[in-house]
Symmetry: C2
Subunit: 110 residues, 2 copies
DNA sequence: CTATTGCATTCCTCGTGAGGAATATATAAA
DNA sequence: TTTATATATTCCTCACGAGGAATGCAATAG
C-alpha cells in the first residue's frame, strides 16, 4: 500500500499537479516534452518528477538517453481512496437517523 | 464549485488531515474537544481550522461561546472528484494498446 | 576519440508556512 | 460589576521547500 501522506504532500504543489495533468493527456512523456509543455525549467521538472515518483504517482521507463514518465495508479488511487472514505459526508446518508426511525417506516411523510 | 487548489494545499498538512479524521468520527466537535483529541495547542487548532474552512473542508456553527465544527462535503468532494478524473489510470484500461494489438491476440508470451 | 543531447543533482537564496507565546475578544458565571 | 472560559488573532522564530544557476553524468552522434 502507498503512503497517503507522501501522496497528498506531493499533490499539494500546483506545478506537480500540472505535470500530472499533462501526463494524463499524453499517457507518456519525456522530461523534455514536459519541460516544453509546462514552461518550467528542466531541473525543476526533474525534481518534481522525483517527488512524484517517490509518492508512487508516476513511473519511469528508460530508453536510451530518454526517460519516459507515465502516471502510476498506485499513488493516485491511494489519495482517491482516502477522500472516498469521507463520501458519507457529501452523500448525506442519515444512517444514524435512519436507524432511529427504522421502527416506524410509515412516518415518511414530507 | 470549490477551488481544488485550496483544498489540496489544505490537506497537504498532516495535522489538518488528523483534524478532518477526528471530525469524521465525531460528526461535530468544539475547538476544545479537538485540542484534547489532537494533542495540538489551541491556537494551532484554530489556525488549522481557519485554513480548512477557507477551503470549504469544514463548516462552523456558533453556539454561545462554543464553536461547533463539522466536515463540509464541498471541499472533500472537490478533491475526490479531481482524483476520480484519473480513475482510468488505475483501472488499467489498455484502450490504445488494445486497439494496436487487436489483430494479434496470441502474442502474449512471457 | 570529441561533441552534443537528455536528464539528474548540487548549491544557494528566498519566501512561505507551521509552531509557540502572548494577547485580544466574546460570552457566560458569580 | 469582576472573573473565568472558549476561541481567535497577532507576533516572532525557524525549518522546509521551490526556483535558479551551474554542474555532473550517461548515451548517442560525429
Amino acid at each position: 500500500m502507498v503512503g497517503v501522506d507522501l501522496v497528498l504532500e506531493a499533490v499539494g504543489e500546483p506545478n506537480r499537479r500540472r505535470l500530472l495533468e499533462l501526463l494524463h493527456q499524453q499517457h507518456e512523456s519525456t522530461v523534455s516534452e514536459l519541460v516544453r509543455a509546462s514552461g518550467l525549467n528542466q531541473p525543476q521538472v526533474s525534481k518534481h518528477l522525483k517527488v512524484l515518483a517517490s509518492a508512487m504517482l508516476v513511473a519511469v521507463r528508460a530508453e536510451g538517453r530518454h526517460r519516459h514518465y507515465r502516471l502510476d495508479g498506485a499513488g493516485l488511487q491511494a489519495a482517491h481512496d482516502w477522500f472516498a472514505s469521507f463520501d458519507d459526508v457529501w452523500n448525506a446518508r442519515f444512517d444514524a437517523l435512519d436507524e432511529l426511525v427504522s421502527t416506524d417506516p410509515e412516518s415518511s411523510a414530507t
